[in-house]
């Protein structure tokens, strides 16, 4: 069988892998029977090596809708269905995803495996909160249906468990009622980190909130940000001519980056210039507008392959969360170190999470920050140092973004790993499901 070079969204690491897929329950079951030590993979939109291994099983061909209850808004589909397809089906009927990440090009199986979060985490939690049940094919080739009340241990270890409990086959979850395809967005320009954080407090009741933060500014403007707050628009908030067809909007122009840009395009100077431009593009300190859901939730999806911006060597996304009490101190510390190094990222996203204390899911009450670092000399050492800082403040790193964290950091920062391991051992005793990441982190 042919091997190919695969990477996930960060283009780092790249790995030679044998890739097989399945499109029926029978073929999935045959894969388990005949193939050892593989990792299931969706659309490859995690950033690092969670969905990489020598052997990979793609769920992309297992992509059928099973049922959609238009009245109550619950939907069941096979794991390889993409969120963008779900939106296309449910939005005209007045429903939307309960939780969505910053891209709609992920599979629903991936959404479960990474237990994704979105701009509404502080109000509505992560994806797992809205799951009705998950069907999963385990190491013993048995299909199990698990939920918050049935086979709970399997459910807990599957949500956020990065595919280590088995092949997620089907997901049934609850959608969210909406009246239109539009979002009322408030844009607030704030001068520094303190102001940004106070905005999250002030807009604590808003359904959606996040901030773009400029990591390279120092002094008084340290942590200057643009805070975005949103609510689904009701029909009566729309301009009159849109009220007839509230779920219709004009598709955006799609841009594409057709090849890897030379990595020197993104240097300290260009990022600084970009951030300044972005910050100053927002003229007034406060503005309100009605934009399509696509523009609000998925601004980067309009640039296909934006990951190629970082050059052929790829990039690392570093997303951590700090407990609320330590958040301000920790963010000042970490942003300071990044500024000093001068290797800030294009996009740094700040967000306040709500309460969550699940087995292996990433979110916890506190602030999370996501930054991009082009792969370069010294970046690994630098991120190892940041790990220690994050750990000191009681924080942790998001597995769906990680490509490099060491085992020690992982085991010290995730509090329930002993229990997680015991469940993995129960459902995946022979390391049938194993990724480069799970091996690096000492899980398989």
């Amino acid at each position: 069988m042919m091997s190919e070079i695969l990477a996930n969204w960060g283009n780092y690491p790249k790995s030679e892998a044998k890739l097989l897929s399945f499109n029926s329950f029978k073929s999935a079951s045959e894969l388990i029977e005949n193939w050892d030590h593989f990792i299931p993979r969706g659309n490859g939109r995690c950033y690092g090596d969670s969905a990489l291994a020598d052997k990979i099983v793609s769920t992309l061909k297992y992509d059928k809708f099973i049922s959609f209850d238009q009245l109550n808004g619950n939907i069941s589909c096979q794991a390889g269905v993409l969120l963008c397809d779900i939106i296309d089906v449910v939005m005209p009927k007045g429903w939307f995803l309960p939780v969505t990440p910053g891209t709609k090009f992920i599979t629903v199986g991936g959404a479960v495996a990474a237990d994704i979060h979105g701009k509404n985490h502080h109000k509505e939690g992560s994806f797992s909160r809205h799951i009705i049940e998950v069907e999963i094919l385990c190491d013993d080739n048995q299909v199990r249906i698990c939920s918050k009340s049935v086979e709970t241990d399997l459910f807990e270890a599957t949500c956020g468990g990065m595919g280590l409990t088995g092949i997620i086959l089907k997901v049934k979850f609850q959608l969210k009622k909406i009246e239109s395809a539009y979002v009322v967005q408030k844009k607030i320009k704030v001068r520094n980190l303190e102001e940004a954080m106070s905005m999250f407090g002030q807009y604590g009741d808003a359904t959606y909130s996040m901030a773009w933060i400029d990591c390279l500014k120092g002094g008084k403007a340290f942590g200057r940000s643009i805070v975005l707050v949103g609510e689904h628009a009701n029909v009566d908030q729309l301009p009159i001519k849109k009220r007839e067809t509230p779920y219709k909007f004009n598709e955006r122009l799609r841009l594409s980056i057709p090849f890897n840009l030379p990595s020197l395009v993104l240097n300290k100077l260009s990022v600084k210039a970009f951030n300044t431009l972005y910050y100053n593009k927002t003229l007034s300190n406060y503005s309100e507008s009605i934009i399509s859901y696509d523009e609000f939730f998925y601004p980067l999806d309009s640039i296909q392959n934006w990951n190629r911006m970082y050059g052929a060597k790829g990039f690392l996304q570093y997303q951590f969360v700090l407990p609320l009490d330590n958040s301000y101190k920790g963010l000042v510390d970490i942003l300071g170190r990044i500024r000093k190094r001068g290797s800030g990222s294009f996009l740094a996203v700040l967000k306040l999470f709500g309460d969550q204390n699940d087995l292996i899911s990433f979110p916890m009450k506190g602030y999370t920050l996501a930054l991009d670092f082009p792969v370069s000399k010294g970046v690994f050492k630098f991120l190892d140092e940041l790990d220690k800082v994050v750990l000191n403040y009681g924080g942790r790193i998001y597995l769906a973004k990680d490509a490099r964290m060491n085992k020690e950091m992982f085991w010290k920062s995730y509090p329930h790993l002993d229990r997680f391991m015991s469940i993995i051992k129960k459902y995946n005793p022979d390391k049938q499901f194993s990724s480069i990441q799970s091996e690096r982190l000492g899980l398989t």
Binding site: S24, F65, I66, S67, D88, V89
Partner: protein, 243 residues
């Protein structure tokens, strides 16, 4: 909206064609042997496109059942896509009559049997479209797959004759000769990327060819060049090649 019939609807190409036409609002009749899988496809299509989808058992090899199969289809579909095929195991076929017969039965006899019934109905109705998915393998016999190739060659010739006959009745016949397609048939086999079409590309090519009333299409046009070259190599040279 008109309805279309997909014979061999669980194949990757069958699914892609179904998806393409369903997304343009056509109602679909799915036919094949794997009823369970067809029912999964049915719910998927109904949810995605809000169209009418029907499922029928159809076995290409069992030609005695073809008349009954056709009689069930009420109202009769306006377009028929014959997508099923059986690549088989060529080496086994050289030794085993059951395998070689099966290759001929599915790819030629079965296809001709069902399409003949459908062609007669279209001829009476004075409208309809028949799309036959044949293969470049039928353009010249090669030692590595001449059972499959000869069955497809027969099928290609059948389609060409049918087109000739039905032209005056306003019924169109489209012959599709895909080269390599990225499907479960060849999963794990290494094929040159530029010459390998995805099922989606095949479906798009068919949809466009249907609109433009084309007669014979190669999905990736370079295949036309390749097959031309292969077909003009003199036999005394060709027989020495390892193809």
């Amino acid at each position: 909206m008109s309805s279309i019939l997909i014979l061999g609807a669980t194949s990757d190409v069958g699914k892609a064609i179904t998806f393409k036409y369903a997304s343009h609002g056509h109602n679909i009749i799915l036919a094949g042997r794997k009823i369970e899988e067809l029912n999964i496809i049915r719910s998927d299509l109904e949810i995605r496109f809000e169209i009418k989808v029907e499922v029928y058992f159809f076995d290409a090899e069992n030609i005695k059942t073809h008349t009954t199969f056709c009689d069930q289809l009420q109202p009769f579909p306006e377009k028929t896509f014959c997508v099923f095929g059986y690549l088989g195991n060529h080496e086994l076929a050289q030794r085993d009559l059951i395998e070689s017969t099966k290759i001929m039965m599915v790819n030629y006899v079965g296809a001709v049997s069902i399409l003949s019934l459908i062609a007669n109905i279209y001829e009476i109705n004075k409208s309809g479209l028949i799309v036959g998915v044949s293969s470049v393998a039928g353009d010249r016999g090669r030692q590595s797959n001449y059972y499959y190739g000869s069955a497809k060659a027969g099928f290609t010739t059948y389609l060409s004759g049918l087109r000739n006959r039905l032209y005056k009745s306003g019924v169109h016949v489209l012959t599709v000769k895909p080269g390599f397609i990225d499907t479960k048939m060849i999963e794990g086999i290494s094929t040159p990327k530029q010459l390998t079409a995805s099922p989606l590309e095949v479906a798009k090519a068919i949809y466009n060819a249907d609109k433009k009333k084309k007669n014979v299409i190669y999905v990736i046009s370079f295949w036309r060049v390749i097959m031309f070259i292969i077909s003009v190599i003199p036999e005394f040279i060709f027989k020495r090649l390892r193809l």
